[in-house]
Amino acid sequence: MQYEAVIGMEVHVEINTKSKIFCGCSTNFHAPPNTNVCPICLGMPGVMPVLNREMVNKSIAAGLALNCTISRWSKMDRKNYFYPDQSKNYQISQYDLPLCLGGWLEIEVNGGPKRIGITRAHMEEDTARNVHTLGGGRSGVDFNRCGMPLLEIVTEPDIRSADEAYAYLTELKQILQYLDVSDCNMEEGSLRAEANISVRPVGTTSFGTKTEVKNVASFSGVQKAIEFEIKRQIKTLNEGGAVMQETRGWDADRGITFTQRQKESAHDYRYFPEPDLVPIVVDAAWEQGVAESLPELPQARRARFAKDYGLSAYDAQVITASQDYADYFETVARSGADPKQAANWMMGDLQALLVDAKQEIQDGLITPSHLSNMLKLIEDGTISGKIAKDVLADMFASGKQPEAIVREKGLLQISDSAALEGIVRRILADNPKQTAEFRAGKEQVLGFFVGQIMKATQGKANPKLVNDILRRELGA
């Protein structure tokens, strides 16, 4: 039997406000244990939460970017359960009236667009971190993370493959980073993805029994875990077995999912409205204010880069991967440099230098004006593309402008035909065998001569001129 996968994603994103969702403690991830804590996030007796306005602003921005309807009237609720990662043994979350409802996000699937429905996005507080490595039969609790602002984004069961899930996560992360609402750092846990996976015979519409895969540390891990899980479920069914509803973990080393928790009786969270907080009313003016402050989102930017700058779909995708990268490109392109050349240099040599140095483009010494000026030097024939590679490396190390480097190092391209003619004649005279071969019709030998001439000029010869003179001298 042919099966198809039905997948829904739940993503928890830590919103990058300066202070926690309900108190003034810092959200700095790197603080020593239990130093970003106060009576409020520790759930001490007699204290109350007060909602961070910026959390609401950033959540509205995320909701709008995901094409959600922003609720005019929403509220916070208490979700009751006992666990040592909780400071109050209830979590303040949103139950039946979340801030954002009913949106979608578009991904590319097999070269075409596909919309993944967003069921809801709601605000809640993060929980504490439990530490299991202390020994002595005890676990430790670090409440620094407790009360960090979280946005939980839930999709419809619209995803049909591991690749689609990967594309969804990538696009979501890009959008949230563009909005500057989260750094989406999976290693630091500021983005956590869970997948609900089931399979069903192709052509049917009811859902199979789902498993939930949690605690995966990377997007590619999620992709692999889903892939594995789909195969596992199909195999189970084909062998006459049944899929059990359960939570499964991902063992990255062995490349398998494994049972973490069997289904117990359904959770009974006893949600009720949080009496310590007042309702949140987002009127049209508030929503519009946030909408107007939204930056251009990745999808729109990709389309515009392809149209305005003639980038290929692939190049546009790479160039817009991060907002800083795209901003960099756009600055270079707008300065009059050739956009395609700019993209090639950014994705090629410059990227290689950045990766080696573990730097981000916005932090390097090569500013957009450096790159733009260098591209102009190539265009007007002052330097060759080959020399430009050296200039780039020099700029990367020194931060000097390309003109200065060319001047100081005498890298000006030799465009003097008289000087070049002499060199060409000497090379031809020194290599009679190759000259004869060329004249006999072996065109490839031309490359050999160009190489020799470049070597003799330390790469400074104007390649176009060299070509012209060579052909003339060879009588081609």
């Binding site: 202070s19 130093t35 007060v50 666990y83 299991h132 430790g140 956590r192 928790r261 907080l277």
Partner: protein, 103 residues
Amino acid sequence: MSTISKKDVDYVAGLAQLHLSDAETNRLVEEMGTILEYIEQLNELDTSGVEPMMHALEVTNIFREDEVTPSLDRDAALAVAPLHDGEYYLVPKILDNGDGGSA
């Protein structure tokens, strides 16, 4: 609805993380039954179309600005804890079943 069974009481005690003796359970079956029976009188009222009073006052949109304020000194925080190691609050070993974090 007004009758509450021993099974119900056990279930609720589980949710509330209370450990009840048999005597306590039996007493609660009776007492909660009496109170719930009293509460039943609300069913006399037709409340269709009545908005629930979810908040005591009609106030909305009270926020704090996103400003960092000083945290509690860790020693002061841990000083009132039953068990700690100077860095972490300590609890009996959590058998991690993947259910940690926001469920």
